[in-house]
């Protein structure tokens, strides 16, 4: 049956709780309900298209002052859904709001920002305390702009729930119950002709299974779910069902570099050679998440960044013989159990992972079986999700199987992995760099990247970092983390795809999914 414009599009993504109907876009949990649909960024940066930029509430921008000053030209003629005009003052207000309430500053932009001021009625000037090119993504794409005339009246935006959000976006909140959020199209949206899908519903799913069943029974045409055996479970159920899982980051083994035996690069390399990543992908993830490259570059998404020399040096080749010889050269000997031993100690390791993600645990179990074949004993410890977070943040692990968020280019993930300032001593919370890697040379490279807008310089820095990855192996990338995305083409067209990756498709990406729904067209 065809879908008419008034047939709502039901969105399907498990969040494990009921909706609270609070629409603060700066609240880590609530932001997905408003950022992208109701509130909008200055510039949309597409991670899947090499950080391709689309002007949004800003029509253009310019760096100056040694990449320390960023000037936005603000779009005119845009109106808030309550009819009041949108202006540069709203943008300045928003940035200063984040300064006033650090609890709202999820991306810590004020760690490098020095000031935010308006220049005339249509320009906004952001001054940084140092060259901050990579921060463009955070200030332009990740800060939703809110209306000053309403937000200035909120006594405490951290705790006061926003029940009736007013934004500039393509959608307005229609109604919210604990079980469902419903948006309707903004009839006066500044992008003419958009949106064509008039109503969106987002039911609250308490468990993955129900969300999957909802999708599989055809009640939703837009899913963001991990679905086991997707071919038979979903694709075969209904004509037009399809999926696309674009990779965007790495799921890696984070070795604890501060303690033996993982402070020994030979052991880390042996592990990498001992992993048959393709099989791990097939068994642990139904092949959804492709095998990762030891260089850390996610392909095909960031193919252009890959350093062929580094790939040649280590690549992702599965080579159990090489793994064994590396260990033997390092002084390890096989004992009667077939496990390597040195100084009387078996090479026995424990990997922690999020026990709540069955796919990760399964992948670890496959790794355990593979490493056993090269004489490394790996015990899998699927830890309850909060404990897991505590453990990896504070460095209480030997190996941790985990992901970083990444960003619109590989640099973001590399910086999270390798920048020593992101780390912290064992026992304290490290924002990232959980393996506790510390190299002044690498820090210098990362700092240098931040000061340049030259693509050539950036590429040369990234090439050097990839060499560090394969030679020092601070992180062992295993699989590529993908965006979970299911759709039905018989009901809607305009879905993002490998051929046209205009936005990250998963519903938990902000503001991307707002961009996706703007592009959808119901089939009459």
């Amino acid at each position: 049956a065809g879908t008419t414009a008034d047939t709502p599009l039901n969105l399907d993504n498990e969040q494990g709780s009921l909706w609270t109907c609070a629409f603060t876009p700066f609240n880590a949990f609530d932001s997905m309900f408003s950022f992208g649909t109701i509130y909008e960024p200055l510039v949309y940066v597409n991670a899947l298209k090499n950080a391709h930029e689309t002007p949004w509430l800003a029509t253009s921008y310019a760096w100056s002052n040694g990449n320390k000053t960023l000037t936005f030209n603000i779009r005119t003629g845009v109106k808030w859904t309550d009819g009041k005009p949108f202006s540069a003052a709203d943008v300045v207000f928003t940035f200063n709001l984040l300064k006033k309430y650090p609890a709202l500053d999820l991306n810590a932009v004020w760690s490098v920002l020095a000031s935010a001021t308006a220049k005339g009625s249509s320009q906004v000037v952001l001054k940084f305390s140092k060259s901050a090119v990579p921060y463009f993504y955070y200030v332009a794409d990740q800060v939703p702009i809110v209306p000053q005339h309403l937000w200035s009246k909120i006594s405490n935006p951290v705790t006061d729930p926003i029940a009736k959000p007013v934004g500039t976006g393509g959608y307005m909140l229609n109604k919210c119950t604990p079980q469902n959020i419903q948006w309707t199209a903004n009839p006066k949206y500044w992008q003419p002709g958009m949106p064509t899908v008039k109503t969106l519903n987002m039911p609250a799913f308490l468990s993955n299974n129900t969300a999957n069943e909802y999708l599989a029974t055809g009640q939703s045409a837009y899913g963001a779910q991990f679905i086991p055996n997707i071919q038979s479970y979903f694709v075969a159920k209904k004509a037009g069902n399809g999926y696309w899982f674009p990779p965007i980051a790495n799921v890696s083994l984070f070795p604890n570099l501060t303690a033996a035996p993982l402070n020994d690069v030979a052991v880390r390399q042996a592990i990498s050679y001992g992993l048959d990543r393709t099989t791990i992908s097939k068994i642990g993830e139904y092949g959804y998440e492709p095998a990762a490259s030891a260089t850390g570059i996610v392909t095909p998404t960031y193919k252009g960044w890959s350093n062929p020399a580094a790939v040649a040096a280590a690549g992702q080749s599965y080579d159990p013989a090489k793994a064994k010889s590396l260990l033997q050269a390092d002084g390890y000997k096989l004992d009667s159990n077939g496990i390597f031993k040195r100084h009387g100690k078996e090479l026995a390791l424990t990997v922690i992972t999020n026990g709540g993600y069955s796919d990760w645990v399964a992948a670890c179990q496959v790794m355990s079986q593979q490493l056993a074949k090269v004489g490394i004993k790996l015990t899998v410890d699927g830890v309850a999700s909060t404990n897991f977070t505590t453990d990896y943040l504070t460095g209480k692990f030997q190996l941790a199987y985990n992901v970083e968020t990444g960003g619109p280019s590989p640099f973001y993930e590399f910086r999270q992995w390798l920048y020593s300032k992101n780390s912290a001593p064992i026992g304290q919370s490290a924002a990232s760099n959980w393996e506790r890697f510390n190299s002044p040379a690498v820090d210098a490279l990362l700092n240098q990247y931040g000061t340049t807008t030259s693509s050539a310089t950036q590429h040369s820095i990234m090439n050097k970092l990839q060499t560090v990855m394969v030679s020092q192996m601070p992180i062992i990338p295993v699989l590529e983390e993908v965006d979970w995305f299911q759709f039905n083409t018989k009901e809607y067209t305009g879905w993002p795809s490998a051929a046209n990756p205009y936005a990250q498709p998963a519903l938990y990406n902000m503001p991307d999914w707002g961009v996706v729904v703007l592009h959808l067209k119901p089939i009459k």
């Binding site: 709202l104 519903n201 799913f205 709540g356 999700s385």
Partner: protein, 327 residues
Amino acid sequence: MRFLARRIGFLLVALWAALTVNFFIPRLMPGNPAQAMMARFHGHINPSAIHALEVAFGVNTHESLLSAYFSYINNTAHGNLGISLLNFPEPVATVISHALPWSLGLVGVSTILGFLIGTVLGAVAAWRRGGVLDGVLPPVFIVVSAFPYFWIGLLSIWLFAVTLGWFPILGGYTETATPTLTWGFVGDILYHSVLPAMTILITSIGGWILTMRNNMITVVAEDYVKMARAKGLKPRRILWQYAGRNAMLPNLTGFAMSLGFVISGAILVEYVFNYPGLGFLLLQAVVNEDYPLMQSLFLLITFAVLIAIFIADIATALLDPRTRSNP
């Protein structure tokens, strides 16, 4: 009255114990809610957010345990349950008030139904001792009550919701409907509650059948039941007024306890059926280390159980004059 004094004494001590346990357990847990929140995002937000979250949740306030304890007691006494971290920034009371009706409706009704049906069936089975009902019901329900009920839930979803499509697969009502007080909406709620309610019912009914049957068998052998027959009373009256009533008394406390546990919801059933009740909320609160929510739910549950038992004791005293005088 010694009886009442004892009961009230027990109620107060148990309440205090629950309140205190409640205070300490979450505090003994490792990690903090900011980290828990990070965990929920599967790496979809910037790692720097952890600091923003810690500020938002007030994690790093260094209040002494003792003063925290007293302000907790004080706040609780004033009904101030704090703000839910999981549903930040909603107050815990609001979050609970959203979920409460669902638990009460689904679990409460099916618990009461289970008790009533089980009691009646148990009484009748014992009354017709050795009959077909007595030969079949108890063993069948004993076996059924040994089944993992979440598994029965899974099977029934698979069979009746997904495969046959007779019933909805999730939720307390059609997710896009607006809750109103109309027949249509009530019907919708009932329709959604059929599978979860049946799951609770068929796994809980066995216990009641069995205890009622066993009590009843003892009571039916009492002289006063024989006496009632000798008096030529109608069988119905003997069954309920003489045998049933007395056989039910020992079950009242158990019933009260199970009523109290309604508040905690049938956690696994709510989980399996995506039912928006308190049980699921509790599971979420624990997994996400939402201390205020967890504490309040736990407190609510304990409170409900204690009150229910207290009421059951009083009810027993009313129905059974003997307990009134004998301490």
